[in-house]
């Protein structure tokens, strides 16, 4: 876009961002202090990185340590930068790229509200059963289903519910952990 508009062939104008993009799931252990979340989000916003999903909660209350699960998309060099940028942050203890390190579990929880009556209502219940979604709230003309699983399973459930009267969705975002005995050190 730029090279032809600029008189010089300066490296300033070479666009290296148009490479193949990959999705990675990162686990980040950080101090639970005020401003840490803002700093991590600010890194993504300021440097133009993508956040597909971000979840955070304190995991070790005595040590005030939080675990972030971040799903991000970018070229291999951008992913490498993201990890390096996260790892050099003062309150960050460690960064693990679960996608690179091998097998991991990724789960998300969704609550899905469906309105309707008659056949559609029966069909919604039947599909919920097939997906092992639980009914956590029921009224004469609505259900709230609770569903846990991989993000694509939740996507699929939601798309099936659309014609059956889906009106509202709330999702937690992904929490992830590596399979096997290995432990991510704080």
């Amino acid at each position: 876009m730029n090279a032809h508009q600029q008189a010089t062939g300066s490296a300033y104008n070479i666009d290296t961002t148009k490479k193949e993009r990959q999705t990675h799931t990162l686990a980040v252990i950080a101090e639970n202090q005020p401003g840490v979340l803002a700093r991590i989000i600010g890194l993504f916003a300021g440097r133009g990185y993508n956040i597909d999903s971000l979840t955070v909660s304190e995991t070790e209350h005595e040590k005030h340590v939080s675990r972030f699960t971040i799903v991000t998309t970018g070229t291999p060099s951008v992913i490498a930068q993201i990890k390096a940028q996260l790892d050099r942050m003062v309150p960050v203890h460690s960064v693990a790229d679960l996608t690179v390190e091998g097998n991991f579990l990724a789960r998300e929880l969704a609550m899905v509200k469906v309105q309707g009556a008659g056949d559609k209502r029966v069909e919604a219940l039947r599909l919920a059963d097939a997906f092992r979604a639980r009914v956590v709230d029921a009224a004469t003309d609505s259900f709230v289903f609770e569903l846990t699983g991989k993000p694509d399973k939740i996507d699929q459930f939601i798309s099936l519910m659309v014609p059956l009267g889906l009106v509202e969705v709330s999702r937690t975002g992904v929490a992830a952990i590596a399979r096997g005995p290995g432990v991510l050190k704080a």
Binding site: M1, N2, G42, G46, R47, G48
Partner: protein
């Protein structure tokens, strides 16, 4: 379709500014805004004023906005250009000044790479803007700029930033005109709730000791709001005071005028606030400089608060009747309701209240020890006022003692004539603000009342005034101290004057001459009037070095941690009283 032309991003910037009716842009070029500067070169609709430091550009835009009621516009390059604007943005944020700042950014593919002159402009400016945007696609650019003007000027005004990467400035796209551009998620309420207006008028009708407490919101609402305010005061006979930001909305010569309130406000204004039974707050926000000790703030009153920003209501002071609305619209509705009900306040009670106020006024809280030899700073402002009051005059200030003396002794009759940094207290605001005011009003007399310390913070903008023949007058009350810092050291820190003496001051007369302007020095009372007249009659920019009494302090004052009825009066105060005026708890406050 004129509204859907193809052009480059840089062309869009200039076209959008012209379509928004912008006449002046205060800016400084650099690598990431060169395409925009190339467009400036090729057009004549929008005048560019080259500043000497980007902070100056933002304060000029503020002064321009404050004196015209229009949106101020500034332009800076990426990196240091953008970071230099942070003080001005924060200043505009705290004083609710409409400003659009355009910044250049490194090309989109380099964002996040620590490229030359890259900084995370939207990240850095997020807490000091109403809203900001990084434009990644040229087809969004024109619309974003129009949205920026809408956001800056709607509801409670404030500063916004549009960050434009260099490749977006070069790229071609479709231009969208300003017509119909709005922001769906931001539609601030401006019309008052009818029930709230009825309740407010009903409460005022029962008042025996009412007071109007007005602020910068009246100025921001436009000249019509000031007119309505004056009509309301004339109709109701309610005494009126104002914050620093609201001076001029009601004339200082007006019958019901109490003077400014707050930390260095008038004794009668603060006592009236403390003892009133109904307080009508119009476009002010109960700032800590106004309230003093919160738990003793106007303990016996019912309070009405008119504000366009719902988050200002019940923020620090609980109010009985909130009215979320534009000040002008709320005042119009109150006037209509007042006339409909034919409200008449209890005349006996009101005249007793005014007699009480007169007895406070008799204290003469601005009294100071006059001198025949040295110029007292208060006297200098009084003379400046007397010699400029019949002219078309605008006043800006820096921050410190001189600012408070200007607010106390210069009397404002009209809105938009007084530009000062209230919320942020930015030393260095006044000189560039004066340049901005003068750009908007080339034939008027624009005076920056300054201090010797503040003025050095943005001194280089005097060069901008020279370049564009903007004949601003810098009236320095030179006491060789950061006077307000010294005053607080006397109050709080046993008179240990740590680093508050202005050593190695420049020769301001020679400095003015070095820039190509005129310098005037005056150190004797007898010469003052003639020297001020010489300043006024000089056609170009002037620096006036007014050598004043070095150790004068600014009174009256509500010491930190004290209430409105515990003011320190100045005239006959002893050093010991000054040294013990603030207790241990108050010392921790700012």
């Amino acid at each position: 379709m004129a509204d859907e032309e193809m052009m480059t991003g840089a062309e869009m910037v200039l076209r959008a500014l012209a379509d928004q009716g912008v006449q002046h842009v205060f800016g400084y070029p650099g690598g990431a805004v060169l395409p925009i500067y190339d467009e400036f070169f090729q057009q004549e609709k929008v005048k560019h004023i080259l500043v000497r430091h980007e902070q100056g550009a933002t304060h000029m835009a503020e002064g321009y906005a404050r004196s015209t009621g229009k949106c101020g516009v500034a332009l800076a390059t990426s990196g240091p250009g953008a970071t230099n604007c942070v003080t001005g943005l924060t200043d505009a944020m705290l004083d609710s000044i409409p400003m659009v700042l355009l910044t250049g950014q490194v090309p989109t593919h380099l964002i996040g790479n620590d490229a030359f002159q890259e900084c995370d402009t939207v990240g850095i400016t997020r807490p000091c803007t109403k809203q900001n945007w990084l434009v990644r696609d040229v087809n969004d650019l024109a619309r974003t700029i129009h949205e920026a003007f809408y956001v800056a000027t709607s509801g409670r005004p404030g500063p916004v930033v549009v960050d434009i990467p260099k490749d977006v400035q070069f790229a071609k796209g479709k231009y969208t005109g300003p017509k119909g551009v709005t922001v769906k998620s931001y539609q601030p309420r401006t019309a008052p709730d009818a029930h709230a207006i009825e309740a407010a008028v009903a409460l005022i009708a029962t008042a025996k000791k009412p007071v109007l407490y007005t602020g910068g919101g009246v100025i921001n609402s436009g000249p019509e709001a000031s007119k309505l305010l004056r009509e309301f005061v004339a109709l109701s006979g309610i005494p009126i005071t104002s914050t620093l930001m609201g001076l001029g909305a009601y004339p200082a010569s007006g019958k019901e005028w109490l003077g400014m309130l707050g930390m260095h406000g008038m004794y009668e204004a603060n006592m009236a606030m403390h003892d009133c039974d109904v307080m009508i707050c119009v476009g002010a926000r109960f700032d800590d400089r106004i309230t003093g000790r919160l738990d003793a703030f106007s303990p016996g009153s019912k309070k009405i608060h008119i504000d366009i920003d719902p988050s200002s209501i019940n923020k620090t002071v609980r109010v009985d009747i909130p009215v979320v609305a534009d000040v002008g619209q709320a005042l119009a509705a109150m006037l209509a309701e007042w006339k409909k009900r034919k409200v008449k306040l209890d005349e006996t009670a009101l005249s007793a209240w005014k007699r009480q106020i007169d007895s406070w006024r008799a204290v003469d809280c601005l009294k100071y020890r006059a001198s025949k030899e040295v110029i007292m700073p208060q006297h200098a402002i009084q003379r400046l006022y007397d010699l400029t009051k019949d002219r078309d005059t605008y006043i800006t200030t820096e921050v410190g003692q001189h600012q408070m003396w200007a607010a106390q002794f210069y009397r404002f009759e009209e809105p938009n004539r007084w530009m000062t940094s209230g919320g942020l207290g930015t030393m260095g605001y006044g000189l560039p603000a004066a340049v901005g005011v003068q750009a908007a009003h080339p034939k008027s007399l624009v005076i920056d009342i300054a201090g010797d310390a503040s003025v050095q913070m943005t001194m280089q903008e005097f060069s901008t005034a020279i370049q564009y023949r903007l004949p601003i007058k810098i009236f320095i009350l030179n006491n060789h101290y950061m006077g307000m810092v010294r005053q607080w050291q006397q109050l709080l820190h046993g008179n240990r004057l740590s680093e508050s003496y202005s050593d190695s001051l420049p020769d301001f007369v020679k400095l003015a001459e070095a820039f190509g302007g005129k310098g005037i020095r005056c150190s004797r009372v007898a010469d003052l009037d003639a020297a001020i007249m010489e300043m006024i009659n000089t056609p170009g920019p002037v620096i006036f070095d007014c050598e004043v009494a070095n150790l004068a302090n600014c009174f009256p004052m509500i010491p930190s941690g004290k209430a409105h009825n515990e003011m320190l009066l100045g005239a006959d105060i002893s050093d010991e009283e000054v040294g013990t005026a603030i207790d241990a708890k108050g010392k921790q406050l700012v």
